[in-house]
Symmetry: C2
Subunit: 339 residues, 2 copies
DNA sequence: CTGAAAGCGCTTACAG
DNA sequence: CTGAAAGCGCTTACAG
């Protein structure tokens, strides 16, 4: 059977409380000899505290949820860009003495269930739309601290960590304009007037404004941000926009698909058309031509997300102000001057 | 405050036991009207059972661990090939009413800690070496059901689900031999006499034997199975093995790096050297030339892993026989006849 | 079909 | 510096 606090207490000839204090590092309250003796017994017996008992008795569970959208009955929707985030968040939580519950959400009501059933101390929302985050109410959230990655939601129940999407797109468009491009297509998922893609759209336009140019709206949208829909888009691009000399895609995976579609349609990159992405996936260095893109600092994003979340958890309050991280342009081989 | 079983029982005018029975679907024991009334109250009040209380009182926690190696202080080591597995396992567990605890393991002792602290019902081991799995003892494992992905360990405390690595490499080598290649290099991490890479090595040799040919050992090893070490390897390949006309790499990511190194060294693929990988990552269709490789059925691997594990969990025993899944050759553009 | 009691393994005040 | 008691929210036999 399992070794319990009581087993250790009996063997050490002290009360459970004393053992509990030692195990939890509240050493000020116990004499050095007792500490030493208890620690030895704990190690010998291989005692591991029961997290569920602790979570039940204490007000804290030391459990953080990582909530990710999952199409009904389907697998988690983790974009290539978010994959690294998962591992990094786990590491940061582990370093802080927390555990990670990974949970796919296929219906809004599941958020409340996930939060409450394991008495989560907090949760990271990864991959949700701002509209979904806006909809979270005090009733479903309760006293749980919530942090959304890549969110611009103003919901006071949550806070956010995101890259500077506006500046990223500004840098991208500036780069293309500086090369001499004027007829640039903006390619991405349909967007509303808030959120990551909207920010990138605004930044893109800002570069034109800054250069004293007027952008003739050339937006091309995809259902899903995938290689496949990028390829479709690339195949049709020269028909829909024969005048275009460059494409800015809101994601590398999309840009890479566009490059493939363009190539299949007999169009050379960057010879005929330049392509620029966003994310700087490892992948963007593996394809030909290597993709020019906007890089985000993913490890930093994960680290700050966890730091912000745990600060709120430990203060038992909803997190404070959102944080925006810097981005930079990585010039590679998919962009060149128009001919 | 949290809504509890007792709150529901009081409001319904029944005992906690009755509510518990209804919530847990043991309807045979309760009258239809009572069930209906209780369910209504549960919905109205937004009652969500406490998983930690349940886990403490019952013998089951409905929690499964996903244990992944993590270099000390470092992020999870999830290979590109294993990334999809994580999301698929979460889905399968969720469908079965279980939750997933994702945990990085940087030291052997952490396995026992992870298993015991949350009273896990079972765990999936993803990305561990067979040597590490061999070392697991009854003391650390206890009564927890353990399933290792891609393992050939004979440790009776665990079972495994893996692809047919032997046949995969056999198909790969057969393909190259049929194209007329004879001087083929085997590229992968150093390996012992057990495990995935060893199986692939054996399958590779078996193709030569079957063709009545003798393979002159040409093994090239890498420290880590990454794009970077593949590239280094590709850059040097024509010096170390000037006679080679083909390379079989034990992973796509490695093969893709090798192609890049080869190209940088002025060697054309497949013109001068054919390259063949293993895994069929999405990525292998995005690179140029598109990679010929061995495909595994990842969704099936995840589904079977979870099914096998939960069967053992529910029967409260260590899992039974390992399962090996089929593979197939995907011919694309990175292989051709030697010139 | 329904209930009262004990117990799962901890922590939290409260005393001394 | 140390301890006895109550309680966290459930489930498990055992009764009726």
């Amino acid at each position: 059977m399992r070794v319990t606090l009581k087993d250790i207490a009996d063997e050490a000839g002290v009360s459970m409380m004393t053992v509990s204090n030692v195990v939890n590092g509240k050493r000020a309250r116990v004499s050095p000899e007792t500490i030493e003796r208890i620690q030895r017994i704990v190690a010998e017996r291989g005692y591991v505290p029961s997290a569920s008992a602790r979570s039940l008795a204490a007000k804290s569970s030391k459990l953080i949820g990582l909530l990710v959208p999952a199409a009904d009955e389907d697998s988690l929707m983790i974009s290539p860009h978010n994959v690294a985030i998962v591992g990094l968040i786990e590491r940061e939580l582990r370093k802080g003495g927390y555990h990670l519950l990974l949970r796919g959400i296929s219906q809004p009501a599941e958020v409340a269930e996930a939060l409450q059933s394991w008495s989560l101390d907090g949760a990271v929302l990864l991959g949700f739309l701002d509209e979904e985050i806006d909809r979270l109410t005090a009733r479903t959230v309760g006293k749980v601290s919530l942090l959304a990655i890549d969110s611009y939601s103003a919901n006071p129940l949550t806070t956010g960590v995101r890259s500077d999407d506006h500046t990223g797109a500004l840098l991208a468009a500036r780069h293309l304009l500086a090369l001499g491009h004027r007829e640039i297509v903006f390619a991405g998922p349909a967007f509303s007037d808030v959120g990551v893609v909207h920010q990138r759209y605004q930044g893109f336009r800002a570069a034109y404004a800054e250069a004293g140019l007027t952008w003739i709206e050339r937006i091309v949208t995809v259902e899903t941000t995938t290689h496949g829909s990028g390829r479709d888009l690339g195949l049709r691009l020269m028909q829909s926009h024969p005048e275009a000399t460059a494409v800015f895609a809101t994601a590398d995976i999309l840009a890479i698909g566009i490059m493939e579609g363009l190539a299949e349609a007999g169009c050379s990159v960057p010879g005929d058309v330049s392509v620029l992405g966003f994310d700087d996936l490892d992948l963007s260095r593996y394809v030909t031509p290597k993709l020019t893109t906007i890089a985000q600092d993913i490890p930093q994003k994960a680290a700050i997300a966890v730091r912000l979340l745990l600060a709120a958890v430990e203060r038992r309050e909803h997190p404070a102000d959102p944080i925006t991280l810097g981005v930079r342009l990585i010039t590679r081989d998919s962009t060149a001057a128009p001919r």
